[in-house]
């Protein structure tokens, strides 16, 4: 019997030739990623209680991205604790206020095909875009990992999501995932491994693939993996990875999948998910002039360089609708700097956007820009649960950066395809 990509990676981590879905195994960790919210401040007391050091300083990456910027005594204390812990434990891979962990970790070459990785954050499936098996865990479990270098895992079944055909202009990976959430529901992934494949996926760049893998969290999958190819290889070379071997990391032809879903990219219009669930996705053609107060380009799913480019392409030379605030929080400093050299940050500034720090920000309910009472927001983020981004009475619509940008200039939820070549003087 052949094995799925997920099985192959887990088998390697367990030290076996073959693992069987449904069985509980103890796996060795190749890399553990933690951030300032669920990281040192939560794992240190546990490690102290156990009286042990971290199992490997080299296999831990620490990123500060939640309490950024520090703004009061509480958050300053959290960041000081984080920095002190990194120093004490001799951790060299520390990215302090450089952007969101899910973007910073791969852009610094830490992820490679075949790796078995845990992250202390629910959007950790992002790493699956690189052919790694990566999933999110809580702080206590992370402390266990840091103490032992091991974790228990129930070997997952694989759910295949196959997309074929070419995406239409102004339709993106975000639209693909919102559509999948609408079709399969937030528990459609059944906490198994989701594997994305098909001709559409092959044409996506790495940052778009990251959006697919990232939002596997919204589908309820444990991991969202994509078999590595030449696009993966090129990205990894560019970020300075060495010893890249993509050959072994694919699902065998005769691997047994739990389910396989087929979607047609050529028929997909832009999607919008209404409050308060990503599964409330509908075609944009079904939305009827919902007014927006805030347009947010942010977070790991929605403000990478590729996302910033999308938003800017719609906003260029246009004006914001009166009364609409546009907030832009580039996902990483590196992406922001590249965007600057491409003239993209200038486009945001010209239109009057507020540029926010490179952090999780209001997507995670943090920071000073949290949404006020009754505010309606259209957002390029991944999750729109009630009260997550601010007041319980606020409502968040999720969409691609194109759609957020189009809505910001029209003042209501709008189809970006209607803005091609039209100027709003």
């Amino acid at each position: 019997m052949g094995q799925s990509l997920a099985q192959k990676i887990i088998a390697k981590a367990v030290g076996k030739e073959y693992v069987t879905p449904g069985e509980v195994e103890i796996a060795n960790i190749d890399l553990a990623m933690i951030h300032d919210s669920g990281g040192p401040r939560r794992v240190k007391p546990i490690l102290d209680r156990l009286g042990v050091d971290v199992w490997s300083s080299e296999k831990i990456v620490v990123v500060t991205d939640h309490y950024v910027p520090e703004f009061n005594n509480e958050t300053k204390a959290i960041q000081k604790l984080t920095r002190d812990w990194v120093k004490t434990n001799n951790i060299r891979s520390f990215y302090d206020q450089m952007g969101i962990c899910h973007v910073v970790v791969p852009e610094n070459g830490h992820l490679k095909p075949g790796m078995f990785v845990v992250g202390g954050d629910s959007h950790s499936p992002t790493g699956g875009a690189f052919g790694a098996y990566m999933f999110g865990i809580g702080a206590t479990e992370m402390a266990g990992v840091l103490a032992t270098g091991e974790i228990w895992i129930k070997v997952p079944e694989t759910i295949g999501i196959n997309w074929s055909g070419k995406l239409n202009d102004f339709v993106t990976a975000k639209d693909m995932m919102l559509y999948a959430c609408g079709k399969l529901g937030m528990d459609g992934g059944k906490y198994q491994a989701v594997e994305f494949s098909g001709s559409t996926i092959s044409t996506l760049d790495m940052q778009e693939r990251m959006t697919l893998s990232n939002m596997t969290a919204e589908l309820g999958g444990q991991a969202g993996i994509i078999a590595p190819d030449d696009v993966t290889k090129r990205y990894l070379k560019n970020v300075g990875s060495i010893d890249i071997d993509i050959e072994p990391w694919f699902s065998d032809q005769d691997a047994k999948f739990l389910e396989s879903h087929q979607f047609d990219a050529t028929r997909l219009p832009p999607q919008v998910a209404a409050p308060h669930s990503p599964a409330n996705s509908i075609d944009i053609t079904e939305t009827k002039g919902t007014k927006v107060d805030v347009a947010y380009i942010g977070a790991c799913t929605g403000a990478k360089l590729s996302d910033l480019r999308m938003a800017a392409s719609v906003l260029k030379g246009r004006k914001l609708a009166s009364g609409v605030r546009l907030l832009v929080a580039p996902a990483s400093l590196k992406d922001q700097e590249t965007a600057k050299t491409e003239g993209i940050m200038q486009i945001f500034e010209d239109i009057g956007a507020s540029i926010l720090p490179n952090s999780c920000g209001i997507c995670a309910g943090y920071g000073s820009e949290r949404l006020g009472e009754d505010i309606v927001c259209i957002s390029s983020t991944a999750r729109n649960f009630q009260g997550r981004m601010g007041a319980l009475s606020s409502g968040v619509y999720l969409s691609s950066p194109y759609t957020v940008a189009a809505s910001a200039i029209s003042g209501e939820i709008s189809d970006p395809r209607n803005f091609i070549g039209i100027k709003n003087e």
């Binding site: 156990l50 309490y67 629910s122 999110g136 702080a139 528990d187 009630q386």
Partner: protein, 167 residues
């Protein structure tokens, strides 16, 4: 015989922002827990008693990896959760914190405030006043061991204590 607790009933897709609101994430667990579930039931945190049982629909704990979602319920004294299904990270977090989580179709047959018993070893749920029992899926031996140790940390404490003895 296990003790009797009151049933708190919730629907589907109770998410981690409802269980542990981001606004209070930098606060102590006592503060955070006092806002647990307030978006759907403002009386919950105030009135829940140690030993009470939380019953819910499907996909309980969906969302973030923040384990304060499970920790807040444990802090408030919830003895166990019985839901139709769970989001995976929440399920792992609850087990690792020593909070028993059962899969069972109990939410369709209980009312808020019902008096009930739950046997952790077997997963047998009993409505005391109606003399009715429902079998939840039992927790596997490996995970029951973690729960009975009080969670992952006490479990590891034992393991490291043994290793130190060997050395």
């Amino acid at each position: 015989m296990s003790e009797i607790g009151a049933v708190w009933l919730f629907g589907d897709d109770i998410d981690t922002d409802i269980l542990a609101p981001g606004k209070f994430m930098s606060s102590e667990i006592s503060v955070l827990a006092s806002h647990c579930l307030e978006a759907v039931d403002p009386t919950f945190a105030k009135n829940v008693q140690p030993g009470d049982l939380l019953v819910a629909g499907s996909n309980f704990g969906v969302g973030s990896s923040r384990e304060q979602a499970a920790q807040a319920l444990k802090y408030l004294g919830i003895k166990a959760i019985i839901a139709k299904s769970y989001a995976g990270i929440f399920y792992r977090n609850a087990i690792n914190l020593g909070l028993p989580v059962f899969v069972g179709k109990v939410s369709d047959v209980v009312q808020p405030g019902d008096r009930a018993r739950l046997a952790i070893k077997t997963g047998i749920f009993e409505l005391v006043d109606e003399n009715k029992t429902i079998c939840c899926e039992p927790i596997s031996e490996f995970l029951l061991e973690l729960i009975e140790a009080g969670g992952l940390v006490p479990h590891l404490e034992k393991r490291f204590a043994k290793e130190k003895k060997i050395i």
